[in-house]
Symmetry: C2
Subunit: 346 residues, 2 copies
């Protein structure tokens, strides 16, 4: 089996020569090669310049030896294309005019990806061409709840009281806004698949801020609608991921996704109990483990592999959340090697 | 049964006339009366002036009608008394010289509470006297892992890679530091009990940042040591609480605490499965629910009461995390009334 096949086979629960591995945010700040590109342009310009986005997308494939590339982009380009005004400064991404109610929601467009998000699709096409089949390319988008929360809060939040009050307090608004975002997201992911993405990941980054009963209203149904609406002619897998989702894993599995991402709080064999037999699992090394000395890191990588083996049903090794900006590159490389080396023979 | 008894009885799993309720951070910024006091002095001065700390401790008892008062203070006064330099500015609390390794750890003192934290104990004595038996007074402290993480990171963090690398990468350092903090915490909580606190809560606020296997090394054993080391002549209950602890509830229960606090991510009846029959449960309304219109808020309060009834074994109603600074006071009052009114007769 070649490196090109491992990731997709594991997503489908098929046997692989070794466990495939990639890292969320693997194209990012911890890499000197990324920082060199980023020094030349602002973040959003990097997202919007296909040549540069493709360049940083490819960097970790050779530097780390991972088994998949993930498109360099940002989940917030979709709300921007829907009509929100996005700025990125030192305080992080911000919508300068957050949604204040149903009237604001109704002003949002459902963008035509090939027109308003063409730079993303051009980056997909370019990255895929440059990858030349070496490893698959993962596209992605933000889940409806996570994007809606961002659009209402205007920025990241610890407690999301504005978003929760707006969406849990007004069912009609919630349904209209989340439906509109779902429609935009489905078109966007479909366009990425059509442009050559070999898989897509839906980031429901803030799923875990919701109680299970609220995620059942605001989260899972809209993710399910997106997953089930995709035409996947090459059977491209769909991955769903969020953090702090211990109580939501069953709902994430029921969306119909092929792969459920798990953060480091839930051991993979325990996660298997909650998702049932169908989906493959992705995860779930604590990103902070990449700061430990090699023997401690090795122990932790082997523990995740062991739990993945016990879980069965397909395992894509990943971190439980994005790689941290100050991660030592040599430790990220070592983790990839350790995953490929696998568990000692029994 | 009087309002004075409800909270303590529920902590011990005994029958009560109605479910007792208090809110984490109930003495805080959402109250105009608190802001009026706070306008006069910096935060740390408020903590260190027993008359003012007692005054704000008592505010929510009459304003909201809650069934317990919780001492106004901050978990970081203990590391300060251990020798760390604490500053509080607009960026939040900070230790200006975070611990960098074992040598820094060895310089920490185990403070004599009646000497170096006397202002806290004076506030306990004063608040208890002013409460005059109306409702019990809860003292508190930060758990060893949470305090150690603060002391190493120097401030709040999203990912705690410094603290995790330091403590998971050097077992001897971890054990020495966590043991020293445990010793300080045990003396501190004992002194609060001796000064008249009717219960104590241990805040392991950052427990949920750790994978279960790591919490089993860095978290639970030290909490257990503190809980089991307390002399509780009046059988004062001990509560342990953290957020994102879904996978840690069993470990928290096994510390020997009388009450386990649960955040809003895990329904109380599900939490009961994980903690076993012994501890009472505290929680777990999503703090954002206090921003909803009255009918929606009522539905959510009733749901928590229903789940608490199904869980059995004692229920103290609380939020799943601290009350948010912009919470409308009238909604907090309404929630207290709704809890006291209870579930409709079956």
């Amino acid at each position: 089996m070649s490196r090109a096949d491992r990731f997709l086979k594991a997503c489908r629960g098929e046997e692989t020569d070794c466990t495939p591995v990639w890292f969320m945010r693997q194209a990012g700040r911890y890499l000197p090669e990324y920082r060199a590109v980023r020094a030349k342009v602002p973040f959003l310009t990097l997202c919007k310049t296909p040549e540069l986005a493709a360049e940083v997308t490819l960097q970790p494939v050779d530097i780390l030896g991972v088994d998949a590339a993930i498109l360099f982009s940002d989940i917030l380009v979709v709300p921007e294309a829907m009509g929100m005004h996005l700025v990125l400064d030192d305080a992080g991404p911000q919508f300068t005019e957050p949604l204040r109610g149903p009237a604001d929601g109704r002003r949002l467009r459902v963008p035509d990806p090939e027109r308003e998000l063409r730079y993303v699709l051009d980056a997909v096409r370019l990255a895929r061409k440059q990858l030349a089949g070496k490893v698959p390319l993962i596209g992605f988008g933000g889940a409806p709840w996570t994007l809606a929360a961002y659009m209402i809060e205007g920025r990241t939040s610890r407690s999301f009281e504005r978003a929760k009050a707006a969406l849990l307090g007004d069912e009609a608004f919630a349904h209209e806004l989340l439906s509109r975002i779902s429609e935009a997201l489905a078109l966007y992911l479909q366009a990425q698949l059509d442009a050559g993405a070999d898989a897509v990941q839906i980031f429901d980054s803030w799923a875990g801020a919701l109680a299970p009963a609220d995620y059942a209203r605001l989260g899972a149904p809209y993710v399910a609608r997106v997953v089930q609406g995709l035409r996947r002619e090459r059977k491209q897998p769909v991955i769903v991921f969020g953090v702090e989702t211990g109580e939501l894993l069953g709902q994430l599995a029921a969306t119909g996704a092929d792969v459920v991402g798990v953060d480091w709080r839930v051991p993979l064999d325990e996660a298997r109990e909650r998702v049932g037999p169908a989906p493959a699992l992705q995860g779930n090394l604590d990103p902070a483990s990449l700061f430990l000395p090699a023997p401690a890191l090795e122990k932790r990588v082997l523990r995740v592999l062991e739990e993945g083996r016990r879980a069965g049903g397909g395992h894509v090794f990943n971190l439980g959340h994005g790689i941290l900006p100050s991660t030592p590159v040599e430790n990220a490389k070592l983790a990839v090697e350790l995953v490929h080396r696998g568990l000692p023979a029994r």
